[in-house]
Subunit: 247 residues, 3 copies
Amino acid sequence: MFKAIVDAETLGDTLDSVSVLVEECKIHLEEDGLTIRAVDPANVGMVDLELESSAFESYEADGGLIGVDLSRLQDIAGMADKGQLVELELDEETRKLHIQIDGLEYTLALIDPDSIRQEPDIPDLDLSAEIVLEGSDIGRAVTAADMVSDHIALGVDPDAEFFYVDAEGDTDDVHFELDTADLIGLQAGDAHSLFSLDYLGDIQKAIPKDAEVTMELGEEFPVKLHFEIAEGQGRVTYMLAPRIQSD
Amino acid sequence: MFKAIVDAETLGDTLDSVSVLVEECKIHLEEDGLTIRAVDPANVGMVDLELESSAFESYEADGGLIGVDLSRLQDIAGMADKGQLVELELDEETRKLHIQIDGLEYTLALIDPDSIRQEPDIPDLDLSAEIVLEGSDIGRAVTAADMVSDHIALGVDPDAEFFYVDAEGDTDDVHFELDTADLIGLQAGDAHSLFSLDYLGDIQKAIPKDAEVTMELGEEFPVKLHFEIAEGQGRVTYMLAPRIQSD
Amino acid sequence: MFKAIVDAETLGDTLDSVSVLVEECKIHLEEDGLTIRAVDPANVGMVDLELESSAFESYEADGGLIGVDLSRLQDIAGMADKGQLVELELDEETRKLHIQIDGLEYTLALIDPDSIRQEPDIPDLDLSAEIVLEGSDIGRAVTAADMVSDHIALGVDPDAEFFYVDAEGDTDDVHFELDTADLIGLQAGDAHSLFSLDYLGDIQKAIPKDAEVTMELGEEFPVKLHFEIAEGQGRVTYMLAPRIQSD
């Protein structure tokens, strides 16, 4: 059983957060909210999302699992005007999701969850540095790095206490520094890892510019990015595997 | 003889209404205004337009007939800023149309009307249902239906008194209902017909979102759509042939 | 030695003025400001630009010469938000330009000036007519002419005292007239020359719509266009060679 009403923007943000990595996903319809975990085909980027029942206007579920085509569901959510509500109801028999937006009813065929890539285990890592910064700063770093290279180094200088971004191109370089005055928070530690700009660029698109993003970073380790959606009633975590340093 | 001054927006709306179906058309320059009738190459969609002389700042004509390339005339009208006037004058000898917009003069070669597809007779049909609705609702129905199918069913439930739209895809369906509270007017009657979304999508682009559209609908019959342009001093009628039901 | 701070918009306008004709250019870093002269590969369009030191927040230079890839520098300047300052500093040893925008540092490899096309001598011409007009009128003339032809005639009627633009297509013509009431200034004289719309269209993109443009025009001679940038603390001159009249 699944029956919920949610505003279009919250639904859209939820779907966008996952669709930057995968085209299809499994959604767990738990009693206290929905959760999604997914990994991209190359096993480089993972997402872990939860949206509490309190993020919905109304929410009823009893632990089901559905598989959805994300771009299709995004198109439907996109039919709603700003502020409009979206009603979702699962038909257990036909395995279709009924979606209603002010008189408009869309019947979406679901995907067999068994046919969707297995959900990843997102490891608990003990990363040495934690940086809290605005989403817009991640966007700025990615855009600048993208002008010269296809990978980006993220790091922390534990002595001087600043977070930095480095990108080295064949002829040009980009360096970006944010010190404790620019950051929301910094727990300094030795940290420096290299990442693919393709992935970080895609992930960055789903991070709201005004979001407070917590970044956990280590020494040639994956990076974790956490931020809230749905006014604090939802959480997204991305984990991105490092590239091997070329030097 | 033809000499007229019209504001750029009225001219643009007039041309847009016809250009969604054809690339060239004949324009009748009658004493009391201009009229255009045209049918698309496949004989599926027809348009009948009249723009009264009162829609113009000034208007003089004596029953001539000209043939025009619509996209060319649209480009010229597009040179005008919002609120600017467009002066049109026919040179009978050279068969060219002189178009002036604030110091800018464009001399447009006309097309021999005999070389343009014959104008259709738009039949007087006795259609069982009449729905009056906002242009934006037609847009919404077309966008939603287009997500799942390339045809769209329009119908009226005469007992429950509502207008509906249905589109059936291979896996997903769209259903859209507007009852008497959502509609501006409804004269219920048995009506259900299937149409090509290609055509209805094109036509819908020319219907202003805030227009009051009168739709006449029958049982496997063409649909007629009427709305006003030029603040009531012009009228557009579209007629779209039905597709044969597949079931 | 070169070290300067300039607002992003002034830097952007400067680069845009030159990049409509060439991809790379030499920049002279004079004590009293910077100058750029460049000619397109076909020797048809030339630009001569100077930006006084007073256009900068701070400026120090001693007569150096650098070669730059314009689109790369434009991308970097585009990273700045409206009103942000851009810091430029030349590293003489590495021949790299350090560009800083609020914590973001970009290291740009310069191009050997000797590898860039030689700078043109922009001839002092005695042109018979001078027209002063708004940048937006040049844009309007180019857009209209482009609808019918790939070249454009600019001329002055010395008796009737107006400036005109003519474009002749295979079937349609465009004529645009601005008299002394429409123009900011006119020094009439016999003048009529034909130009490539490709070039004038590109040049026009770099002319601000609200700029006061002085056009010097002759009889089958090049046209010169002058306007100010950086609130009067910079000047741009374009010179465009005429095409031979076909009639």
